[in-house]
Structure formats: C-alpha cells, structure tokens
Symmetry: C2
Subunit: 128 residues, 2 copies
Amino acid sequence: MFELDFRSRKPIYEQICDKIKELIALGDLKTGEQLPAVRALAKEIGINHNTIQKAFAQLEREGVIISITGKGSFVSGDADHKAVFRQGALEEIARVIEKNLIYHITLEEVIETAAEVYRKSSEGQEGK
Amino acid sequence: MFELDFRSRKPIYEQICDKIKELIALGDLKTGEQLPAVRALAKEIGINHNTIQKAFAQLEREGVIISITGKGSFVSGDADHKAVFRQGALEEIARVIEKNLIYHITLEEVIETAAEVYRKSSEGQEGK
DNA sequence: GTAACTGTACCAACTGAAATAGTACAATTT
DNA sequence: AAATTGTACTATTTCAGTTGGTACAGTTAC
C-alpha cells in the first residue's frame, strides 16, 4: 500500500499524508471507506504506530479523514476531496512558477515545458 | 544582501546557495566578480562561518563559484550561468507538474494557472 | 618579513524535529 | 469479557544542522 523514502528530507508522517491523499484522489479510497488501523498499518510498513498516529492526526486536522476511538478512521465525506486536491496541486504549481520568475523564464517556456510533460505522460500510457 | 528564513525546513546553507544563484541570475553578481569573504558574510548575516563555508563548498561543487585559498571566492566564468539556472528552473517546474499528474489536472488548467501567475506578476511591475 | 587577510579543516558541543519504544486508557465491536 | 479501535503520555534515541573555537596553508599589503 505504501512506498516510503526513509532517506527523504520529507518526514515519514508527511509522506504518509501525501500517500493517503493520493489514494483518495485516485479513487482507491472512497468517501466513508475505512482506513487501515493505526497499529496494523504501522506493522505493515514497519514503522512505529506513533508515526502513523501523527499522520492521521494531521489528516484529520485537514478534514481529509475522521477518526473515532473504538471504531476506526474513515475518509471524510463532507468535501469533494478530488476537487480540493486538484486545487492544491494547481496552487503548488503556481508557487513553483512564481518562485522561479526571478530567472526570467517566459510564459511560453513554461507552457512548452508543461506540454512536454503531458506529451511524455501520454506516451507512457498509450492504449491504457 | 540576504534575507533568510531561520524557521524554514530548508537549511540555511541551502538558502544561501539559492540566494547566490539568484544574485548571479539577476546580474548583481557578474562572472569573475569576488564574493564576500566567508567570515565577513557570516558576521553580516549573523551566523557561523562554517555554515557559509558549507554553502560555498556546495556552490563550488556545482561549478557556480571558484574558491582559492588566500584570494577569495569568485563567480565561475566557464558557463553561462543564466542559461543553466533557467534550465534548472524549467526542470523544477516540470517535476512539480509531473508529481501532480496523479490528481488529473489538465494541461489547459496548468497553462491557465501559469498565465495567471504572469498576469499577477506584470500587474505588480507596471511602469517598471 | 610580518601582519592581516583569504579559504579550508577539524572537533566538540548543542539544538530541534523526527522517530522509536513502551505503556496506559477510553470507546467500540464481537 | 476479550479483542480491537483511536488516543495520550513519557522517556529515549537518532540525525542533520548549526554553533564555537582553534588551527593551518596560501595570498596580499605594508
């Protein structure tokens, strides 16, 4: 269920947050669906349960999941997750472009770069 | 000369690397020009000289500057820094777009996002 | 030549965030 | 009742980043 990079600068608990959001965005985790138990997931990944707990607490703060003592953790249902994640993705892209404006890249170059990404992406998925 | 974020997740020495590259990209530091001395810059910013040293060592590894014991550190002259930095900027943008493809954003959305960034940017510089 | 400046190289110590380990408790399910 | 759930708390470890201090080699200026 998870592939983590233990050497990354990004903390494990944040990587877990990202992965969960990813699964939701992909539809692999649907609204209301139950997530793996804290301890079970920790054992599966091979990390401490406190780290999972930290990730889940974060996700709950963000409104992505809802955790109930004794029952479990579930994908929150009060928001269109996909739309929110898409918005967040676009905002991240905007931030990176903005940060790199100092290098005087043009809008045309950015568009060409983006188009190239999509070109390569569709190549890798032909016939899918 | 520098504005650093001491609360950032990004280490200070990396922020310094970025700033130096930025100054070169902006033309404020030209090829062959001498950089501030390690200790002087450390004192000015208010950090330890070892941190500056770490940043300069990194920049030399990247070929951005050349340091000579006894003389000082200078902007390297064997490359077109601006072109290199622009290329790096575009690559970073490409990476972020690629990473966010999982959220099924479209090329049109990315282009619109980029255009918006440039629109806001030019607004803030009218008459410049 | 020597004093003052350069970059460089150590090393010991501190700091803070992240992660671990272990235990405990409350709520729910079976 | 037993097992499972999320949650809480403390102590400990780990590691990168940073600091502080010292030392040395090469260059510049007097």
